[in-house]
Symmetry: D2
Subunit: 261 residues, 4 copies
């Protein structure tokens, strides 16, 4: 006999429960949306401190203007205005390795370094030593350290100090974030230049400190981006630009004879 | 010269702004995620009352257990675990006319009835008269009135009275919701049976009263569902069932000779 | 006991069957891809004439250069190069009402006119009379006739006469196509100007004449487009332009204070 | 000044060209759909032998019955029947690492082994030696060799000998396929058991021998699957089962108290 266990939503004729709570009486109006998402993912009701830090991450990642994903969503809406879900899905499908994946990559990397170390350093000096070793290993293996450097914010990404500040205020600055900060301090002596700790990276560090599953970290960036895409698509409805982008590309297309001919 | 105007996100080397605000200083840690989304869509900072009602809608719509969209997302994750964005997108693509579209359909319908009436009724008797006329017109045209009836909650959808209560508490119970309530009162005398006002419908009424663009209402259901899908996919990671569903279907497949042969 | 009937693919340890045929022995190397798709959809092995006409439609619809969907696919690939399926899906999601939907809309429209007429006209004069009536009705209802007019090919879409020619050669020019041609002859006397029969429309007429399910016609345009997107994405790999498009949009973004402020 | 070069489609008021050919006169009715796709991707007109082998691959990969992706597409169509493109996109989004990715993984793996070898072996003995070395390296690194083993076809995948036969008939059996066959011969002495060469793997070998870009190989599996999904969705329209699957899962859902409580 098939059975499909779940700890999320169930319902019968008179009730809807979610997470074992009565949806209407216990959750609606009493629990915020970010709080609910944290709860569903972790199966544990978060504290208000955790919620504030989590929503700060969502706010940080919601919108970055005309990114490739925002443009793709607007062009899809232009082509298929009858299917808002298609435009949002198209926008999320760009949430892969290059632009939106850094959040998860950074969280995974920090967690792996901590797991290999076996114990959490006792103080900043310990974090610096661990970070130095990790950056040297990455360099030796010719791998990038995720979460450092940014194409626009070459010196300082303003989200980074602010998120550290909020996490500290709320008492959830944990080992992932402390290791990330240490990487910020020590990498110049290995790489020979100073790169900023970027916003996507610091978000990954903080989400890992919140105890969220590492394999889900990209998902929170996608949730934030869904909110941002609503803003982009509402603006496209009010003041459309997708057709202008299309016309620009179409008019500047030049035919090139294939190399193989 | 091409120009692409936007009132959303912009950045330079040292700053990131969103909605004309400094993202790090003015928004992160100060504005919640639901609040930010409302602000991006309406271009107006919402009140805390509006935010509470809006987040109640998101909470109401986030998860409904093993819906077709949740199952589709889990099956997609089973096939392509390297691409979380693909699983979420697959889940959202079911957000169309049949299951998730009622929210928008209901908001659009209520707005159209009010627009055709030309003025907002002064009292409940006025709303009842308007609702009676609208339901009679729908019946005459053999059209469904969106937002009434539910396959499971045949008598009462518990989300409906709760959301009306919250909207009333917050002072944002407006004409769309009042008209929807009136439809609940008068439709039995036209249809000859009593159907519940469903949760998706009441959410559409409330979102319309919040002044959100009607053509975006489906988008808020999709945002809520993105949160719910994170819960579903985190559960699939912890306790997978998609392969069992697949095996169930595969084992019960029976070959049928095509009718045309 | 659940049972899921299918007339498509099944397999056991030693065999794979599709459409009741042995996939390896009866289909691979003996049946072309377009032929197989026609067979799967109609559950009837097509004639070689039908295959040639069907593949002509796929060739006609495969690629139109830098359409919004091609640009969306390239931008998605730029963001998420690890997920080719996401880039293709994003490209297909623009296959909605405005750009790719005409094929289905036209086939559905022609079928509806024929169904309402009740019988198929005996000759061109009969088709002209039916077409005249249909176009007049559309005009009276302030509706567009699908399949006429084109933003670029204002006088003549070169695909249209060619597809009519191929369908005629192969003996599959049927009532949908003949009605479409009649619309091409009579619409100027109703609309007061001469519009070309466009390529998407003639494809819809021909697919309907092939006996394909009307609710699937959009699907064949999507299949053709999947092939085209492979060409676009292979070109993006060889000679990328998506980042240039992104940079163009980003550099020409101008912040506008929201109207509501 | 922006310029976007392309060797694919362009058009002006009177002409549509694709690949430098007149679409209507040179391609429609003269070039098959598979042939066109090969041409677009490689920028070289394929031979009829290459086309037959390529279409054999597409036929082999088009449909495998009720796979997770086919079920996801049907469930999405159930939820959003107004958006066929969404159902197809949802089906393709499962085309990731686990089920559909083997084709590309295998082609990439074979190409990497050949590239590292530096020269193509002169005879089967040379291919066997190269294969033996490669499988031993994979085992030492605890990595899977892609393209061997199958959950259902435990002894022999019927597609494999058939595709080798077709490639041989057409004179396009090249080094990737010969290396793959050698892996089939030598792996038992390394792994201690005999696994079948699977159909997805042999398709990857053959596509690599056709000179197709390795980073596009997954795309051909997706094109084949798009055709298969049209068959699945046409069957869902004729004889729907998605709601039965949904009901099965919903009825067998059991609520489990979260472990953390």
């Amino acid at each position: 006999m098939a059975e499909y266990p779940t700890s999320l939503g169930t319902s019968d004729a008179d009730h809807i429960t979610l997470l074992g709570q009565d949806l209407a009486e216990d959750l609606m109006g009493k629990v915020g949306f970010g709080e609910l998402v944290l709860w569903m993912v972790t199966q544990r009701r978060p504290t208000q401190s955790e919620v504030r830090v989590f929503e700060s991450v969502l706010v940080a990642l919601a919108d970055h203007g005309f990114t490739p994903t925002a443009i793709a969503a607007r062009l899809t809406y232009l082509s298929a205005p009858d299917s808002l879900q298609g435009a949002i899905a198209a926008g999320l499908l760009g949430g892969g390795s290059r632009f939106l994946g850094v959040t998860e990559d950074c969280g995974q990397y920090l967690a792996a370094v901590l797991a290999e170390a076996g114990e959490i350093p006792a103080d900043d000096a310990g974090f610096d030593a661990l970070a130095l070793d990790a950056v040297q290993q990455a360099r030796a293996a010719k791998k990038f350290v995720p979460g450092i450097g940014h194409p626009v914010h070459k010196v300082r990404d303003p989200r980074t100090p602010r998120l550290i500040e909020i996490a500290t205020e709320e008492g959830v600055r944990g080992p992932h974030l402390r290791l990330f900060e240490a990487i910020g301090r020590v990498h110049p002596q290995v790489l020979g230049r100073t790169l900023p700790l970027n916003g996507a990276g610091v978000c990954g560090a903080v989400l890992a400190d919140l105890g969220l599953p590492l394999a889900m970290l990209r998902g929170f960036a996608l949730l934030a981006r869904t909110g941002g895409l609503l803003g982009q698509l509402a603006e496209e409805q009010r003041n459309p630009i997708a057709n202008d982008i299309y016309m620009h590309v179409d008019r500047n297309a030049t035919y090139v004879v294939p190399k193989s001919e």
